[in-house]
Symmetry: C2
Subunit: 333 residues, 2 copies
Amino acid sequence: MAQVSLKDIANVLGVSSATVSLVLNGKEKEGRVSKALAEKIRKQAALMNYKPNNLARGLRVGKTQTIGLIVADISNTFFSSLAFHIQEYAELSGYAVIIANTNESDAKMVKMIDVLRSRQVDGLIIVPTEKGESYIEEISKSGMPLVLLDRTFPKLEVNHVIIDNYQASKKALQHLINKGCKRLSLLIYNNTLSHMQERKRGYIDTLKQAGLYDPLLIKEVDYNNLKEDVENALDSLLQNEEKVDAIYFATNTISMIGIKRMFELNIKVQQDIQVVCFDKNDVFDFSPELSIPYITQPIPDMGRYAVELLVEQIDKKKSTSGKIELFAELNSI
Amino acid sequence: MAQVSLKDIANVLGVSSATVSLVLNGKEKEGRVSKALAEKIRKQAALMNYKPNNLARGLRVGKTQTIGLIVADISNTFFSSLAFHIQEYAELSGYAVIIANTNESDAKMVKMIDVLRSRQVDGLIIVPTEKGESYIEEISKSGMPLVLLDRTFPKLEVNHVIIDNYQASKKALQHLINKGCKRLSLLIYNNTLSHMQERKRGYIDTLKQAGLYDPLLIKEVDYNNLKEDVENALDSLLQNEEKVDAIYFATNTISMIGIKRMFELNIKVQQDIQVVCFDKNDVFDFSPELSIPYITQPIPDMGRYAVELLVEQIDKKKSTSGKIELFAELNSI
DNA sequence: CTGAAAGCGCTTACAG
DNA sequence: CTGAAAGCGCTTACAG
């Protein structure tokens, strides 16, 4: 590489590399280096185009100014938006972000955590996988600064930033009930993670309160067989003699496939059947006449709080500093 | 941290850390360590839950197994898909990826390159910004392994992976001409980068050959004032007495805003005006009746080749190994 | 006001 | 077959 080191600068100037380090880190007063020397050192560093080696610095001070972000799939727009905002906020605090994907696999999450730890990240922001609880607990107890994002494990004493999925579902269902719907279906992942369970609980409670609950109207689909499962679920819901008059799609991916299927089946969305989706999609902009209401998550805030919570832990060396639950809004046009 | 080090293991076993290092790196034969000792060391390492410190390793061997990826905006679906595939392929080769955003700002690109270099990445994959040519040239000449992605600087002797934007435009326009369109408009960024210029050139050449070229039908819009510019462009195109009968949207972001505007203006897409877009969007799935043709870029391949090209440079220590241009297809339903 | 030394955790050539 | 030493580039406590 022929990278210029502190020592190279020191040699040219006939001083010690310690002095150069002091000056270049703005700690001249501590070392009480003379103004003149400091100036000379700065000039020489610029001249030689010196770039500090953060590896060496990290090794020495035990801190890398790097945080690891583990998401399910960076190509998913929800996670890529989160990642964008996390990077922006991390940068403000002087941190770089390494992103890793789990593809919802527990094994991959474990692997990625290991990879990031061996790179000495100062902390982790993790969107955990379904069966990852015990490993998350382990990490948390090891003292590694950690924030769970989007999903959490309620039994664990771990920091997190999530949304109030229960309330979000209530809002969605209440909207449909207010419109006069009587048979309201839920399409959701067969996933035991907190966010899905809360969305389901919100659905069930709201319908029970309205005296409209029917467990047969809940259709669970599998992440790994999504398209087929959603299509089958819709087909069965719509062929039923006692037809549904509303569908609540509990995630963006499910709603994309579901609505497309409804089009294929020539169902008139918002006429034959009322729909509410989770998360905004470009599609909604395109069909103002459809005006499909959707739940919006406060993604920039989720990113900001996750970074804040993590940086606080890193700085203060305390492992638990908070659980943050944000509100999601129903966006009905 | 109380991280376990090689020395800790060595101390417990009463051997040197060098021996431990040898064994744990599978180089026992070179050091000709006895089978028995090797086994003992491995057991102890597992017992103490040893995780290598990659910082120290990187510092010592001068290689971090990390590549830097610089994109315009990770929250944009095109770049997040690219990032996903790049990470997958990089992982296969044993590399981690640090992603940084430029937001199309030259200053930010320069800053991010510096950040990544000071973290001692082994190479860079960069989606360059408009005025970044001289800085890219500088890096390239410094011997840093480098691959440009999506866009390139034709005058520079730098590796790149791009698509054939010229041919892509030709296909799009030829399709419209075959449909009998006579007044074909182009909406494109006012950007001097290669990919935009090639898309424009493909448009111009195809229309000239067909005797349909009219420079007034090219509308350039600004990245930083996108919505307004696109809307103004469309309004002026559609108010013109000699109406356009086809529009080629040269990027995904432009087409999203453009089509939405057409809806607002009650233009019947594919009836009143034929449309072709660049890049696939979920929206197209939703309106099969619209059946808007679009150009698809081979994103997985772009990611794969970028990683391959970069890793090759890193391994072989040669700074130029190739320019790869892939085909994009017109997807007409 | 400035320098010399130690050490972060690792690997690699060298010596025995 | 195994250990001691040097060194990657940095920072920090210490000595003068």
